[in-house]
């Protein structure tokens, strides 16, 4: 009996040692993500859990300041050489974490790597308007685009510069497992499924971070993330919903940080086939949805209703559009006029990825004005497929949120409205022309004129009902000083402690 309990004790000790408890130093900063980063190679995966981490390991050509303005980073200045060529002057004092200098060769290599189809980058589509990159000097690079491309700088905000020599030497697979960049934080280690550790780059050329060590933990359950924040295990947590935000607000050691992001929620309608092909039906739907009611009643009041698919943070946002007021009586009248009876079937397809309370609230609002709306749900991949399918397969309507990560109308309006896009469920020749003109002019005012026309047509023809600008909520220790940005960037070196 005694021998048995002793071997149990040894087993427990061995287990404890295998776990190797974490050291909670005062200059350790812990972030709770939803999932572990899929990849730390900045040219591979496009998801927040990954780029929250790798944006700190790498520098990008340009970046956005906290106001949202595009400012220099690797590139110090740029000039338009001709309609399809932009020349960038680069900083000469940037060093990768192994001490080697960042030069024009690295920029060229990075552009070519991410735009090479054989590299299989899911981000390829965001950069494939760049057709060539040439180093015209040790610190100058020329990028050639496919015709005039006004969104180039916005897209370059997302292009990380990787070290050509190092990547070529160790190969893509090893680089993916052990990334090295020039950013304010260095990659230290990754414990799969548990945490990713970064250490401050004390030789960084720009503003240095305040935290010595940063750990990113993968915590899939939002209630657990909040529990971690409350128990002090985490200093900053991402992606919380309004209910949990209320719980955080009740604890005076922690706080909620929110920002109105570039993500816009919308209700997409089929303008080509089915009962929603009648404009009056689409107008009725627009009048039936109480946007402010949803925001205040379900979402904690953080979000902001929009009249167009743009928010003030987007280039291409135009003031002065009113949208459709909440008017259920008018909705009922329009439906009657269009000949919609209680037997006309409407299908709302959705996926658990979307907040089902909002989807069901909208369904309920439509039912209340006399529409027979049934809900059908699938996994997210199934939803994506249906959203991009033919109008007949699409059905009548769906709820979604859109973000291009570019804060530019071209990344939002073109895929949603242009007839060549698999997302568009509407067709308007004038809309097409305005969108094409908007993306081929380098003059901001000319672009805004064209996008104003796009908004006018969208308001008149209602290919979708713009709902609200989504707020992104984070939880943090009360002493953390950080301003989240609309493009959901996550720069550790812009965070600090109070006092």
């Amino acid at each position: 009996m005694k021998r048995w309990s002793r071997s149990l004790g040894f087993a427990a000790l061995a287990a404890a040692m295998a776990f190797s408890g974490a050291v909670t130093a005062k200059d350790l900063f812990v972030v709770d993500l939803v999932q572990e980063p899929a990849s730390l190679d900045p040219h591979v995966q496009w998801n927040p859990d990954s780029y929250f981490v790798y944006r700190n390991i790498f520098d990008n050509m340009v970046t956005r300041d906290d106001e949202g303005k595009i400012v220099p980073q690797v590139a110090t200045s740029w000039r338009q050489v001709d309609d399809s060529t932009v020349e960038f002057a680069l900083r000469s004092d940037i060093k990768f974490h192994d001490g080697s200098a960042l030069t024009a060769e690295d920029v060229v290599f990075s552009v070519k790597r991410i735009t090479n189809p054989e590299f299989k980058s899911p981000q390829l589509g965001q950069f494939n308007s760049i057709v060539d990159a040439i180093a015209t000097g040790p610190a100058t690079v020329q990028l050639k685009t496919n015709g005039p491309y006004p969104v180039l700088l916005a897209q370059l905000v997302k292009l990380s510069i990787v070290p050509r020599a190092h990547v070529t030497q160790v190969g893509n697979d090893r680089f993916n497992q052990s990334p090295m960049g020039s950013g304010p934080y260095k990659f230290v280690s990754i414990q799969r499924g548990v945490k990713t550790t970064l250490a401050r780059n004390d030789a960084y050329w720009g503003p240095k971070g305040v935290f010595t060590t940063v750990e990113f933990h993968a915590v899939p359950d939002p209630a657990t993330r909040v529990a971690n924040l409350r128990s002090g295990k985490a200093d900053l947590i991402v992606t919380i919903n309004p209910d949990l935000a209320a719980e955080i607000k009740a604890d005076n050691r922690i706080k909620v940080l929110s920002v109105l992001s570039e993500r816009v929620a919308y209700f997409h309608l089929n303008s080509l086939t089915g009962p929603t092909a009648d404009l009056r039906v689409r107008q009725a739907i627009a009048h039936a949805i109480d946007k402010q009611g949803i925001i205040d009643g379900l979402m904690g009041g953080y979000d902001k209703p929009v009249a167009t698919m743009m928010a003030p943070v987007h280039v291409g946002y135009v003031e002065g559009f009113k949208g459709y007021a909440y008017d259920p009586a008018k909705a009922k009248a329009l439906l009657k006029e269009a000949g919609i009876t209680p037997n006309t079937n409407f299908t709302l397809f959705t996926s658990p990825t979307f907040d089902q309370r909002i989807v069901q609230a909208i369904q309920q609002m439509l039912i209340e004005v006399g529409m027979k709306v049934s809900l059908t749900s699938s996994d997210f991949a199934g939803w994506l497929k249906r959203a991009q399918s033919s109008p007949a397969e699409f059905g009548e309507m769906t709820f979604s949120r859109w973000s291009c990560g570019c804060q530019d109308a071209d990344g939002v309006l073109f895929p949603l409205f242009h007839s060549s896009s698999s997302w568009a469920k509407s067709r308007d020749a004038e809309m097409d022309k305005a969108l094409e003109a908007g993306r081929s002019s380098l003059d901001l005012n000319v672009r805004l004129q064209h996008y104003k026309r796009v908004h006018e047509i969208a308001e008149a023809t209602l290919p979708l009902v713009p709902l609200y600008q989504a707020a992104i909520l984070y939880g943090a220790r009360k002493e953390l000083r950080w301003r989240p940005t609309p493009n959901e960037s996550f720069f550790l070196n812009r965070m600090a402690w109070d006092g």
Partner: protein
């Protein structure tokens, strides 16, 4: 005896092959991960380019043969999302699942068996009814609820346990309780039935007449005889524990295979899902074989019965 085992092994191989094939085709019937990997607004060209590069535009039969060929060379492939060998990813997660399943089993046995014994010995008393209710409540609580309750009580309010993650030995306590609670009632019930059956036997009255302490009777004689059904249930319940671990792992941010499976399925990361299913099939079959072996070790009658 060896011919029996050889036949079992062959059956197992066929079963594994069948499971792997089934999962391969079912996953691909729903589509592929291309759309999930791309940013909003990817054009049809972007989608087709990536789909082609990942090889999903090839005929299903070709993809299947390719997969079988890799499998034969013991190559489980690379995660589509992480671009890391599946074997590495799974190897890093398996220990955590083992720890959690063990922890859950320890709690389930450690609470369930004694409770079952007491319930049998103190049959038809208020204590028995109270204990029955206790374990039943444990089994009825969904882990996504009981888990967060445990965290809120012990980690947030009392501050004596870590609220999630892997930070030393204490991290396994709450998840094990949440997981073990799921099967406590089953073990209690089985133990109670088995002990009750033994209590009626002649040798028990003989032992008591001899003057043996009742506690000794239980430990030395009854439990050993009651062990057979408990072992049977253990083999079955381990499968339940592994399934229940999925939610417990998600709630407690415990980096086991369950969490990995859920995320891989949602992301359509086929190689990982296939790898986990393969592992699951192996484990299931191995556990059944192990149970068979344990029987012959514990119960000499089965051993002596020989080849059946």
């Amino acid at each position: 005896m060896s011919r029996f085992f050889l036949r079992r092994l062959l059956q197992s191989a066929v079963a594994i092959f069948g499971v792997v094939t089934l999962v391969f085709f079912i996953q691909r019937l729903a589509g592929d991960p291309t759309l999930l990997m791309l940013p909003d607004g990817a054009t049809r060209d972007d989608i087709e380019t990536l789909r082609h590069q990942l090889g999903f535009d090839r005929p299903l039969a070709v993809q299947y043969l390719d997969y079988l060929w890799d499998l034969l060379r013991l190559d489980l492939g690379q995660s589509l999302i992480q671009r890391i060998p599946v074997l590495d990813i799974m190897a890093s997660r398996v220990p955590y699942t083992l720890y959690l399943a063990s922890g859950g089993l320890v709690v389930a046995l450690g609470v369930g068996v004694p409770v079952g014994i007491v319930m049998a010995v103190r049959r038809d008393t208020r204590l028995e009814r109270f204990l029955a209710a206790f374990v039943l409540i444990g089994q009825s609580m969904p882990t996504f609820w009981s888990g967060i309750l445990l965290i809120l009580l012990f980690a947030v309010t009392l501050g004596v346990m870590p609220s999630s993650g892997v930070d030393g030995f204490r991290s396994i306590i709450l998840p094990s309780i949440a997981l073990g609670a799921l099967t406590m009632a089953t073990f209690a019930r089985v133990t109670r039935t088995a002990v009750l059956e033994e209590l009626g036997r002649d040798y028990v009255s003989t032992a008591q007449a001899k003057g043996l302490l009742f506690r000794r009777v239980i430990r030395r004689h009854i439990l050993r005889n009651a062990a057979t059904p408990i072992i049977t249930i253990s083999a079955l319940e381990i499968a339940n524990l592994l399934a229940g671990a999925v939610i417990v792992e998600t709630v407690f941010a415990w980096p086991g295979l369950g969490q990995l499976a859920v995320q891989a399925i949602a992301a359509r990361d086929f190689p990982i899902v296939q790898g986990i299913v393969l592992l699951g099939a192996f484990v299931s079959i191995a556990l059944n074989l192990a149970a068979d072996i344990l029987y012959s070790a514990v119960d000499p009658r089965i051993r002596l019965e020989g080849k059946t």
